[in-house]
Symmetry: C2
Subunit: 294 residues, 2 copies
């Protein structure tokens, strides 16, 4: 068995200055044993999302190097952008991949928090790494964003898990978490009517009594109704099951799925699930994929 692998998906508050972004990303690239999988920069949100992976030690080291680079390059007191944020390094989730458990990812999140707080960041742990239930949900952790933080951090309910109870205005605070791999999957319907997408989203998502581990929003994108899905637990709701639910719900409103898109990546297991589901394969596992044996 090969060593456990982890993915980190840091979000940092710079999406415009290419030179700064490049220097921040270089801090990760410089760590041997880390593989950069994706970089998404968004000038409107003035925010970037980096995806990298590797074994525990290199991923930890790269995450800390990234936090230091963000601290050096970004002055949050001067930063503007439409995305809610609370830190220069804003969010840092760790995801267990091959041979790693969620407990492993939680341990990694705590180690990262210890080292990142030493740079001056107050750290809030969230999702599986959360230290109390009211901090599990990232949206709750960063409610009010940077602007509310200086006051909120004094509230005993919202003292940071690691680091100072005071705020360095240049740095802000960071949320560090452990979570499952998340599949971001957009479904375009053959209607421009965004209300249909919204009703479908309400029908399928967990929050409103739908499928477990499924988040959904109805949007209008390029003149088409889009159901934007986040699958946070593919064991509970496999990708093909989520899409089937969207298809069925859309059909009730007389709409059909026109096409879909995967944002970023998905684990091989989602493909295996799709093959089992749609090809009616009774026994089928990743070991039967030729490339997996090589």
């Amino acid at each position: 068995m090969t060593a456990p692998l982890f993915e980190a998906i840091p979000n940092f508050s710079e999406g415009r200055d290419a030179a700064k972004i490049s220097r921040i990303v270089s801090s990760v690239r410089a760590v041997p044993g880390v593989r950069i999988l994706d970089l998404h920069t968004d000038p409107d949100h003035n925010r970037s999302v980096l995806t990298f992976a590797g074994e525990e030690e290199p991923v930890l080291q790269a995450a800390v190097a990234l936090a230091a680079a963000c601290a050096g390059e970004i002055d949050l007191s001067k930063q503007t952008g439409v995305h809610p944020r609370m830190g220069s390094l804003d969010v840092l989730p760790f995801v267990p991949l091959e041979n790693a458990t969620m407990n492993d990812a939680v341990r990694l999140a705590h180690h990262a928090a210890q080292k990142v707080c030493a740079l001056g960041f107050p750290v809030f742990l969230y999702e599986h790494a959360a230290t109390s239930p009211h901090r599990r949900n990232l949206a709750e952790v960063r409610r009010g964003g940077y602007e509310a933080l200086a006051k909120r951090i004094k509230d005993p309910l919202w003292h940071p898990d690691y680091g100072p109870n005071t705020l360095d205005l240049r740095l802000g605070a960071v949320a560090i978490g452990a979570r499952h791999f998340l599949i971001a999957f957009n479904v375009y319907l053959d209607t421009p009517d965004v209300d249909v997408a919204r009703q479908v989203a309400r029908k399928v998502r967990e929050r409103d009594g739908g499928l477990p581990g499924l988040k959904a929003l109805g949007l209008e994108v390029a003149g088409r109704a889009q159901v934007s899905l986040n699958i946070t637990d593919i064991e509970a709701t496999p990708l093909p099951v989520a899409l089937e639910a969207v298809r069925e719900s859309a059909a009730v409103h007389g709409a059909r799925v026109e096409w879909t898109e995967l944002v970023g990546m998905m684990p091989l297991e989602a493909l295996v699930q799709t093959a089992r589901h749609h090809l009616a394969l009774r026994d089928f596992g990743p070991e039967q994929i030729l490339e997996a044996g090589l």
Copy 2:
């Protein structure tokens, strides 16, 4: 880019004597850089199918070692079994995998033929490695099997491509080829009526005007009608398209697909095709599979 990879799927005429089979397989295992992916032994057919893979040099070396082991372990003049065969090492196809082309596999087949004929085997090249059109089809190459071989080998149309025009009765002759990866996929219908499976097979297979690169047989297996598919060109007929054709044809006869099974392995591309087809993914490639980037 990593070095081109090849798969070899030798069939040899021993499926009963475990000690002999083990020694024959060991000859392959002893070659560094070769990975054994599968071994299927069949006592009724008195035949085994070994699957291994690696870079060109190790695969060549392992194939020749295997031929020598078969020559040493198997006396075809004393062998019995129901499967048509013409050699102790009977068939030896090479398949181009990652970064390898069919031309690369043809070259490898010729190299292997040169070395295997030096062991005393007459060698017939088939499929993409064939030296004339009437030798492309493996079924034609081995028509009449071992029993007809001594006479047939004297016919100028059927002189071997490499090796002697005479037959060592212990060895027999071997067919060495280059071909595409082949997916073996069985579809079980919800009927015991084998005639339905036969009619479906006739409807979908290339030979009778159906889908390109698709072979199909109707069988009865464990009280169920089974359509046994071989997909020899997944670019021409993707796996989900082949299954859809079976579904449609079965429906005409009032039957449905109950379940399916993959025999052996399939390439990742077949899973990618399945995701594109059934998830309506417009742009999706293997680079979006998380494990592929690691």
